[in-house]
């Protein structure tokens, strides 16, 4: 019997159409729009001004404070302007607009294809390099990696988990990375182990990727302390706490971090980015993005420079189908419909999914029939129907008692509701209101 997390979860149609498509390089776009906030935490401060010449990989915005991240130019060219852009989050953010001229990389980046296995630098150096390279969690949460790697004093990390679950339907970017860059990913994992001071790492992969499991199992025999574990296919297994529970049986208590149970989780893409930053001096300015859709002529996995408008990606995939109703940034479960096709690719964008009009529209909302399906599927043991009602009625204190802030917004409840109730919409509203109210209370 394969391992999985015990409570809740759903299994949406997988639709991993692009699992067999090797990673391709998307041509460098004629201009890029790089938002200065591509991570959780304080936005970065721009270091360049209009008219400045920049090189590919050059630092163009510096992280402000500890929980923040550096931003690097993804192209070489001239800074056109500093302005606002509506990015994948749907809000207006300050961004740098750069016009591309050639593709001239910073000299320090090692562009050779050699794989460097020896890790020569110290623990502190690794963390410093990750911070300098602007590495953030590439699974979608974009939490700055150097913060996660700096284990707070008094706590000990005994285990590293590499997240190769990719439980979101449609997405295949991590799957392809495991198959094509497996060795580099495992070297990255070894680097992460060294930084965390642990000698054990588990790679969790869902059983719908047997080729990746086999490939990494073969490779892992050459790496000390790394083991590969197949997992039962269940959404949202890629969520940090669910993955820890599935692999180790340890439960991260509500309001605590994985480090409190001695575990740190990093994504496959992050492991590769760490490898590139430490061994190749390459900052994070490109990532693998899955572009897929039922009527898309040529879906695939592309290495895309950050700041590339998603329309370039759609064109590379054969152009926008006429029946497109929504374009989703990320996976269909947790992703967000984008505002327009000029939205730039950012560090946290793992996929772009084109959903046909016939499947994207919301269904008519009917009354709750008290079937409790939402309660059954909630991986956190919450009661979504109740949280929605409380949020709707404005009973935020009670909602806080019902642990509304524990919700990770996986969307399993809305997905499963037979009455098509917008459960997550209202839980999100309640969550943000509760967070705001408690922040206001703390200020007083």
């Amino acid at each position: 019997m394969l391992k999985s997390f015990p409570a809740g979860g759903v299994h949406p149609a997988e639709n991993k159409l692009t699992a067999g498509n090797p990673i391709e390089y998307l041509p460098v776009p004629p201009s890029v729009t790089i938002p200065v906030s591509q991570h959780i935490g304080a936005p970065a401060t721009p270091l360049v001004a209009k008219g400045d010449k920049v090189k590919t990989g050059q630092l163009i915005a510096a992280g402000k404070g500890y929980v923040s991240s550096n931003i690097h130019s993804s192209v070489s060219g001239t800074v056109n302007k500093l302005d606002h852009v509506i990015d994948g989050t749907g809000f207006r953010q300050p961004a740098l607009f750069i016009d591309t001229e050639g593709d001239d990389w910073v000299d320090t980046i090692d562009r050779s294809a050699d794989i460097i296995r020896d890790i020569t630098i110290s623990r502190e150096e690794i963390i410093r390099k990750c911070q300098e390279a602007g590495i953030v969690g590439l699974g979608g949460a974009t939490f700055p990696s150097h913060v996660k790697l700096s284990v707070p004093s008094g706590k000990k990390c005994s285990l590293l988990i590499i997240n190769g679950v990719e439980c979101e339907p449609w997405l295949t970017s991590d799957h392809r990375l495991m198959l094509e860059r497996g060795e580099e990913v495992l070297i990255g994992a070894t680097i992460l182990m060294k930084a965390l001071g642990t000698d054990r790492a588990l790679v969790g992969i869902e059983n719908n990727k047997p080729d990746a499991i086999l490939h990494l199992k073969e490779l892992s025999s050459g790496f000390k302390g790394i083991t590969v574990h197949p997992l039962k296919v269940k959404y949202p297994q890629g969520a940090e706490k669910q993955l820890i529970k599935a692999l180790t049986g340890r439960e991260v208590p509500s309001g605590h971090l994985p480090i409190d149970v001695g575990v740190v989780v990093h994504n496959i893409g992050t492991a590769l980015a760490v490898y590139e930053a430490v061994q190749k001096n390459k900052p994070l300015f490109e990532r693998v993005v899955t572009i897929a859709g039922k009527s898309l002529p040529r879906p695939g996995n592309f290495v895309v420079r950050t700041g590339t408008p998603i329309i370039r990606l759609i064109e590379a995939a054969g152009g926008m189908p006429e029946d497109t109703g929504k374009i989703i940034n990320g996976g269909p479960m947790m992703g967000k419909a984008v505002y327009n096709t000029d939205v730039p690719v950012v560090k946290g964008m793992s996929g772009v999914i084109l959903i046909p009009m016939s499947e994207s529209s919301r269904k008519e909302v009917k009354p709750c029939i008290r079937c409790a399906k939402c309660v059954t599927v909630c991986p956190l043991g919450l009661e979504p129907y109740l949280l929605m009602t409380l949020s709707l009625k404005g009973l935020f204190e009670r909602a806080e008692k019902e642990r509304i802030t524990d919700c990770m917004e996986c969307g399993s409840c809305s997905y499963t509701c037979p009455a098509y109730r917008p459960l997550l919409d209202y839980i999100r509203l309640g969550k943000s209101t509760v967070t705001r109210l408690s922040r206001e209370k703390n200020l007083k």
């Binding site: 606002h84 509506i86 989050t89 749907g90 809000f91 207006r92 967000k336 505002y339 327009n340 529209s361 919301r362 909302v365 917008p422 919409d425 209202y426 999100r428 509203l429 943000s432």
Partner: protein, 287 residues
Amino acid sequence: MSPTVLITIISLSAIALTAAVILYFVAQKFKVYEDPRIDEVQAVLPAANCGACGFAGCRNFAEALVEADSFEGLVCPVGGASVMEEAARLLGKESPAVEPTVAVLLCNGSPEFRHRTSVYDGSADCRILHNLYIGESDCSYGCLGKGDCVRACNFDALHMDPVSGLPVTTDDKCVSCGACVKACPRNLFELRKKAKKDRKIYVACSNRDKGGPARRACKVACIGCGKCQKVCAFDAITIENNLAVIDAFKCTFCRKCVTECPTNAILEINFPPRKPKVEATAESINS
């Protein structure tokens, strides 16, 4: 009469009498004195229990009025001057002047002026839309049009205009309780001083972006150019964060700023039509 019935009547009467005596003394012991004037004042209040005064309901407000030394800061906006005067007469106190106000929407972004650049098909709730993304137009300050204010209004004073997609206030019904002010996630409502004949002149915009982006998002956005400020002879207009604000207490309704505004962001409502020369402008603004 049989002895059983007699015994029953006597014993029950004895129990009732004892209980009455006990209850009398308990009632005396635990008596709570309540000012009878509270009931009188409460009878005068509108009984809307809307919370506009800042208290939980009309009863709490009545208690506060009775206890207060002066009426300073205590106003029932629903009842207005007449109710406050009546309450003051009952309590023998001075009632301060009550300025009647009315809710106005500081946005005029109908689809005609503000292009819809995306379609939202989620829950029809402004708060959810506001938390989710910038909104259906490029303006991140304007009305979202999902009617949170209409649902919040207990006095039937707001309704959605199907053409403009914006809420419209019925001035006669608005009691300026402030429910819409609280309900709007974008803070688009202002309680503005009521003038005679319900006349209003105000900047119907809340966009604090610079001129260029504001104008691109909406044709009738305030671009903060300052022309209205220059033309105003009464210092009623201030510009802050690229947005002009007309002080209703200083404004004399001369209407000079309305014609001066290059984007028609300043609205004049309930005015007689102007002389032919400028009539076209006034009409297009009012439409």
